[in-house]
Subunit: 341 residues, 2 copies
């Protein structure tokens, strides 16, 4: 059997370097139209296999997905929130498994990313990964839609915004973990985490929390909410503030595991034990949550599955298949901090 | 003062869409040479600011760095090793801080990544992040060098290989953590981790371990080494095997934190306490190492600094500045598992 023609064969025949062949088949502007046409013709004659390059040429595809992270890369500790880091890892892997490279870019709302990614042809589609509040850049999403750019968002489901959304059921997660605490017999509760329109994911968790208490007639005096964003210091500060209040809640529902770790620190300082004095639960199931003392009861958002869903949905959209929103179920992970074990 | 000319002004003057202007200034093959020349001319007349696009046009730069991860993306648990995940996060952030996007691609030794990244013009330079064993693709590194591709490697320093190397001093880390255990009075030791040429980083840690013992006349019978790769199950299996041996080492030096976590599990099963029965130390300082029970004494490779060094060095190389190898010091992190506290 004859061996397959390679780009070196084409180069030899065309009297150019292999680099030029590869550039030409990649549609590089560095190669003149005449040379490109000649190379494409020779490739055809040699029955050069339609490989990734040739396929790119035909479909004008980059075989790259863009991941836009809406987080400030220059903040204090130069650490990425562990939940986002886990998503970054799973999206990277899921892209690779499907034969796509991943172009990762930090963005802010001000920049013209919507235009840039349309024009640059650097990626076949976009994954938006932010804090779930897309209202502020609604107009840019509209523009993406108008441009015909394929994109998929991670976050809270919101029919008012264009684009396909993959998310995890934050309301159900907040409801289930609170219901679990109610089942253990606790009667006074607090929720630590933002409850504003700017943080729709935290807000949905809070709504689940509040509704679970309502259902059991435990709202009102037995329920408090204090703002915190998703960091240990913020959780620590919120718990410290609560410790100065008149009465201590018997169970604290945190909007994230990082908040819960800060809450642990504040309780330890006050010589209060988890769960004997105060039960604590978190949200996210970040890696350390299984190793804290006590191990943290939390709600898992399956980041592996989330990454696969985002990538698969986007690739389907790129291939003109019909795609729709998907809401992953939240999964209660019972460990020691709730007092169940 | 007159307002700056925008791409919309150019589009209006040229009688084309703004997308076409942007494509033209991005050197897109979708725009004919005639149109591009006309647009570039109008941009010049309007004194259109040399922004990112124009600058790309002039320098043929993509403002993108490529990160090639040499790990199989399709393995079992679809998790990235936490050390690599941390590096991925810090390289992403460091790139963003410098105004670069990051193109992440899983690679294997067989594929023609060296040629593809040269030809595709997708990135201005390459960061190679693997398990430190570059011998197997030595010829591809040579080719990168010949092509004039800018690249920087993470891993064990090795003057025999082309390219600039950023790494952390594995020998010193292995030496220091072992010396610390000797200082605590232990006299029998084991090392768990590969000690082959295929794993030069683990091997350097082992050499540091062995030399520290030699210096104190503790080599020979007091020293064992058993292979394991960097996973919990592998560490668990290695410790199980050691438990079946005649004598138990008093202190176990693990080549990674993941191995140490597996060792903890095997010791717990055997009703042996850390550090009272067996002292255990790890390597990497992954996030969970501060939360295990007991907290793990380990050696920190500063991933934040590593990411910054890789990105800064690569950008310097792209800008034709002189760059050289850099070996970061390893940093001993003393916690409870060694018995010091």
């Amino acid at each position: 059997m004859k061996e397959k023609a390679t780009s070196f064969d084409i180069a030899h025949r065309a009297g150019v370097s292999q680099s030029t062949v590869s550039r030409a088949l990649n549609n590089s502007p560095l190669v003149s139209k005449e040379t490109r046409d000649r190379i494409v013709e020779i490739a055809r004659e040699l029955n050069y296999q339609v490989d990734k390059n040739a396929s790119n040429l035909r479909k004008q595809k980059s075989n790259t997905l863009a991941l836009l992270l809406f987080e400030d890369p220059t903040t204090d500790d130069s650490l990425i929130n562990p939940f986002f880091l886990s998503m970054l890892g799973s999206i990277t892997r899921a892209s690779a498994s499907q034969g796509y490279d991943l172009l990762v870019s930090f963005q802010n709302m001000q920049s013209d990313w919507h235009a840039e990614y349309e024009d640059s042809n650097k990626a076949d589609g976009i994954i938006l990964l932010g804090y779930g509040d897309y209202s502020a850049y609604r107009s840019k999403l509209d523009q993406l839609e108008e441009q015909g750019t394929h994109f998929v968002r991670w976050g809270a489901q919101d029919k008012a915004h264009p684009g396909v959304n993959i998310g995890c059921d934050n309301y159900q997660g907040g409801f289930d973990v609170t219901n679990h605490l109610i089942g253990l017999g606790y009667t006074s509760f607090a929720f630590i985490g933002d409850n504003s329109e700017d943080a729709p994911e935290f807000r949905a968790r809070y709504q689940g929390f509040a509704d679970a208490l309502d259902k059991q007639g435990l709202s009102g005096e037995s329920q408090r909410q204090i703002n915190a964003h998703s960091t240990e210091p913020s959780g620590y500060a919120a718990m410290k503030a609560m410790l100065n209040d008149a009465t201590l809640p018997r169970a604290v529902v945190c909007a994230s595991d990082l908040i819960a770790v800060g809450v642990y620190d504040a309780l330890r300082e006050a010589n209060l034990r988890v769960p004997e004095d105060v039960a604590v639960v978190g949200y996210d199931n970040i890696p350390i949550s299984g190793y804290t003392t006590p191990a943290l009861t939390t709600v898992r958002q399956n980041t592996t599955k989330a990454g696969e869903l985002l990538v698969d949905t986007l690739i389907k959209a790129i291939n003109k298949e019909v795609v729709e929103d998907y809401l992953m179920p939240a999964e209660l992970i019972v460990r020691r901090s709730c007092g169940a074990q």
